[in-house]
Amino acid sequence: MIKEWADRLFRWYCHPDYYPDIKGDLEELYNEHLQGNARIAQYRYAGDVLLLFRPTLIRPITKNSIIKDTGMFRNYFKISVRNLVKHRVFTGINVIGLAFGLASFLLINEYIRFERSYDRFFTDSDQLYRLTTDQVVDSVLGTRDAMSFHPSGRALVEEIPSILNYTTTYKFDEVIVRKGDQLMTEKKIVAADSNYFKLFDYEIISGDPETMLNDPNSLVLTESKAKAYFGDQNPIGETIELLGRFQRQFQVTGLIRDTPENTHYKFDILMSLKSIQDRLDNDGWNGFNYYTYLLIDRKADMEKVREQMPELSRKYIGEDSKLVFNLQPVEDIHLYSDFTFEPEIHGSAKSVNFLVIISVFILMIAWVNYVNLSTARAVDRAKEVGLRKVIGAHKGQLMFQFLFESLLVNLVGALLAIGVAELLLPYFNQLIGKDITEHVWNQPEFLKSLLVFFLIGTAVSGFYPAIVLSEFKPVTVLKGKFRNSKSGVLLRKGLVVVQFAASLILIAGTFVVFKQVNFMQQKDLGMDIDYVIGFSNPGYSRDQREEMTDRFKMFKEDLKNHHAIINAGMVTNLPGGGSSDISSTSGGVRIVGMTDRLEATTYMMWSDEGYYETIGMELIGGRYLDEDLQIDSSSCIVNEAFVRRFGIYNLDSVLNEKIMFGRDPDNDKYPIVGIVKDFNRTSLKKEVEPTVMFLWERPSYTLVKLNPQNYQEGLAHVETTWSKFFSNAPYDYTFIDQRFERLYQEDKRFGKVFGSFSVFAIIVAILGLFGLSAFMAIQRTKEVGVRKVMGASVFNIIAIFYKDFLSLVGIAAIIGIPIVYYAMDSWLDNYAYRINFPWVLIGLAILMIVLFALLTVGYQTYKVAIINPSKTLRYE
């Protein structure tokens, strides 16, 4: 055995001129050694073979080298190139199809890689967990909240040894910053404790990571913020003033690199957590408004750690609390977390998966094109194959030849794909709204995938044609009695069906996405947000309260007096915000005397009396709150959803009843004086939030309803009035309908990505169909001629061809529709407010496919059908 292998190796590498006699020597020695132990003799033989591997004795590389048959190689190359050049259309369709298919596939892959790269760049990213809070009522999981109590991090580190470290952070909505006479609104400020950089090891440019977040009133700036405030000057030790609730100077103690795009928790400025000590003291174990991150030992048994959570929650939050600690891997947050109060609009694993499917579809369609076109063209190559076989080529060689040809086509396609991807990249970045990369051609990851999928593509697309083409029997083929095999035709039809089905799924899917997005933008929100603008009010300190109350009142009066302004009101949160833009309580709520305590999240808003009309709410029963009524300072109005959640459907019956939060019977009770129609404060992905609204004189946002006729005048007036009243606060308004638009940005983007790549897929599929129908039409030229002689009209002939293709579209529809239904219906289920499955649009998609097919096939058939039969039937 060993000897055989050694011998085979020796024969392979040995110079053929030397082989016989050296082999003879080896044999002779072996036979001599055989007198001893046979095994040892074999080993000695193998040893000798290994020692014979020397430059003087091995085959030369160039001629008769280890790689055999370069002569045939050259021949294959020549024949392939000639064939490809001769059939330009065929080559063009394949190359373009492959280039577009590969380019879109790889671009989508880049995007997916980017989406999956979130938060993986920290040294210990696999050990980082976010502590979140679940609401569990009767062991049913309720609202899942991304935030946690601020002392819980420390508590868990003390209780569980495998939890190594924690950091507590607080995210501000916005803070107004003053530097000199410059005012800026910072939207990405996070307060963090001094552990922060131990968990999240951002690159620190200057400052001591251990201590720079130690003292109150310290700030750590990112590079670009430092540049914005201090230019090229060293920011360390400089001060800037934070307005609003702070009204004091902060010192810059550190400078770090900007947070990258691929983290779920982005910030421009870090503040030391001690700067908000008053807030921490106030919250304690009462309010969970913090993002807490834990570092957990890699060796820890996560199951065991999780098991301890319910018990520890009871210990710290309270025996009968419904809140339970939960641990969530940081790496999973971006794609998999869908909790309330997420720090940013997150990605979705589902859309990423959808994109994977789309990209695979496109690539598949391109490969199918190659398989279809090359097998359809088999007739052209049949004689060549026959002749090669007669001369002595065996099957393996022929297969190799055709695989080589597919390699060539795929190679050209792959090279072109780099160019296509490079050209598409700017549009692609724009489409997905993220700059994943500047170039693709210098991305090793991209090139690696390109190489891999080029090779896979060569094998996948080349293998079947190679088998088919190399199988021809020379006798039949050279006699000229050649027809495409039945099974070959069947397979080709099957592949066309697959292409049609894939195109149908993509077109229909695109339609569904657009329809849903459109629906969300058009749906009645229970509010009238047209020509309503919103902006944040200036902050104030504790002792400015009285003064500000008056000033706000005068400001509103001044606005309302203008003829271009219909109304003005103030509220704690602007409509059209994210899920975290509102206050809520999970402490349980009841309608006193009517219901038991309901353990569920209730949302709370505070506004002045002008708010209701400004935003166009609709009153269903009772009345709005009135600032002039003393009693209304402790009354409330609720929305329908709030009442219905108690299982009460006679809405008016709750009027003048009182609601109470929490369990202590001495807690404040608020009479319900009005019920408003449900309104969608945030994205329609979410159900209407059961909301209670109270009166307040100094909420943080102002809403102004402008007169549509002369709203520009109104805008100007708001601005001048603002500078009259609040000259030292920045004024920055947005239209509320634009805020809602922004909520659907991700969905719209998804629709656009879906749509664009569907178009690609369909173009590639149509290219293939174009080529295929051309070959089929040419092959049936004689048949067409005979039919015409017998009296068939051009129309009859086209109809015959149509019948074939339409039945394929039919089968594709039967396969495609259930898939579209299943996939898109489950996608629609992500939305609290969704459209019914739009069957009409599916019909439209099928119609589109039919139209494309008819046009493509019709064109090719027509070209053949109009030829005079005297030309087609002249020979034979």
Binding site: Y18, D21, E27, E28, L51, L52, T56
Partner: protein, 112 residues
Amino acid sequence: MKKFQLGEFEEIVLLTVGVLYDEAYGVAIKQEIERRLGRKVSVGAMQSALRRMEKKGYLSSREGETNAKRGGKPKRYFNITAYGRKALEYSRDVRTELWNAIPEIAFDVKMA
């Protein structure tokens, strides 16, 4: 003044081919060297030396008879060419010259 290139092992192989005269083929050369010099010779080292010297023109070769012991493969017999002989003589002359050039004293010191 490097006229002939001849390594130490090559020289031994070349001389052995001469010793065996008409019987110099792979196995015989290998065994002769092993017997006379009492050292192991690998087929690889020897064959590559033989082929190298054949290329340089020190050796010529002819195909010989075959037998069952060799698995039906022919022997290849090597002969020293005139050029090879010159190379050997040159090598020997250089050594002799060197020997003669060693002063007596050098040996004395060594013996002392």
